[in-house]
Symmetry: C2
Subunit: 206 residues, 2 copies
Amino acid sequence: MSESRAKPRESYHHGDLRRVIIQTAEAMLAEGQGWQFTLREVARRAGVSHAAPYKHFPDKASLLAELSMRGFDRLREVLTEAVGANPRSVREALLRGARAYVRFGIDNPALYRLMFSTEACQDEDLHLSERAMAPLAVVIALLQRGQQEGVFRLRPLEGLAAACWAQVHGLTLLSIDGLLLPQKVGEAPVEAALAALLEGLATGPA
Amino acid sequence: MSESRAKPRESYHHGDLRRVIIQTAEAMLAEGQGWQFTLREVARRAGVSHAAPYKHFPDKASLLAELSMRGFDRLREVLTEAVGANPRSVREALLRGARAYVRFGIDNPALYRLMFSTEACQDEDLHLSERAMAPLAVVIALLQRGQQEGVFRLRPLEGLAAACWAQVHGLTLLSIDGLLLPQKVGEAPVEAALAALLEGLATGPA
DNA sequence: ACCTGAACACCGTTCAAGT
DNA sequence: ACCTGAACACCGTTCAAGT
């Protein structure tokens, strides 16, 4: 029913073409292996001329930057929900957050790669480091709480956060690339790596 | 003296054009932010027509695959040297290997990204997973030795290796992206993360 | 056996012109 | 204010023809 491609006509002026372009691009990102899709193809599927997108984005990089930013927003939402859902223990919350993070990447491989690509943060207002801060803030808050409760070692937050982020970032990308043989979260390698991470953070013996 | 671009002539037939193309492409990879360089530009700098490279590589993806493979070879060399140099203790060896790994990525950002890119492992004989095995074997051997010596926890090697690899892979990419504020290896966040990793592996308390 | 030149289909981007 | 059509410069790739 809801044909999203090639809307016949809405009085020549498309209305909210910007949104349609973003949604179409997101769909093509989800379908393909990367962001090699063509701006002309996006326009085609949106039912407009190939020059129309340029009225809403200065160039392709800007569209990609927009997709990247939206990706970071979704990731932050996923993380805060996963962490906030069941605050039984800090360990548990961190583990849930980590699993949600990896799953997000596995479910959106092309988007996740784009978010950390140099092609998506050219001269935009928001640099990559600023965008990534929001999700990072979630894990830092958790680490702080863990230290206050005495279950995490008292080390500089900077380093602990780096260890956590690097671990989930690495696990996510290796999973996407199919380099950790069982690809689903909850399977052996990912879980084992997360367990090792927690053991490295913990004060007591596991 | 050794002008590597635009050799005047070597009797029309270039001789070892294949090598020159690879070297030129590697230079452009090192100069730029990625592998968006153009095959025509490579040919231009190699002093041949834009069609000449197609006599040595079926397409651009094949050239990129070659660069990626050579990257994995260099990484394996760097790792084995770093690990084998001073085998005082397994901990020390693992730490040296990890530092060498991260430094390799920081020193060759575009190459390192290419190595784990989907664009560099299309339908080549060697899939990404097979290429990555050689460097991974180095760390697995180290973990095994650590377990035999009783300094590393007795967990399935699969999981421990995943934890190590994900940690250095993540640290490398975050460093490349400038997301761990001090960018040089040996600085706080990277060292802290590696310390946490080792604490997670160790049997005794640090 | 190895390289060149012209040619093809396709892109990103621009801009005067339409509604 | 928003979209179109033609145009420009450039790519990846192919292929008949040159050496």
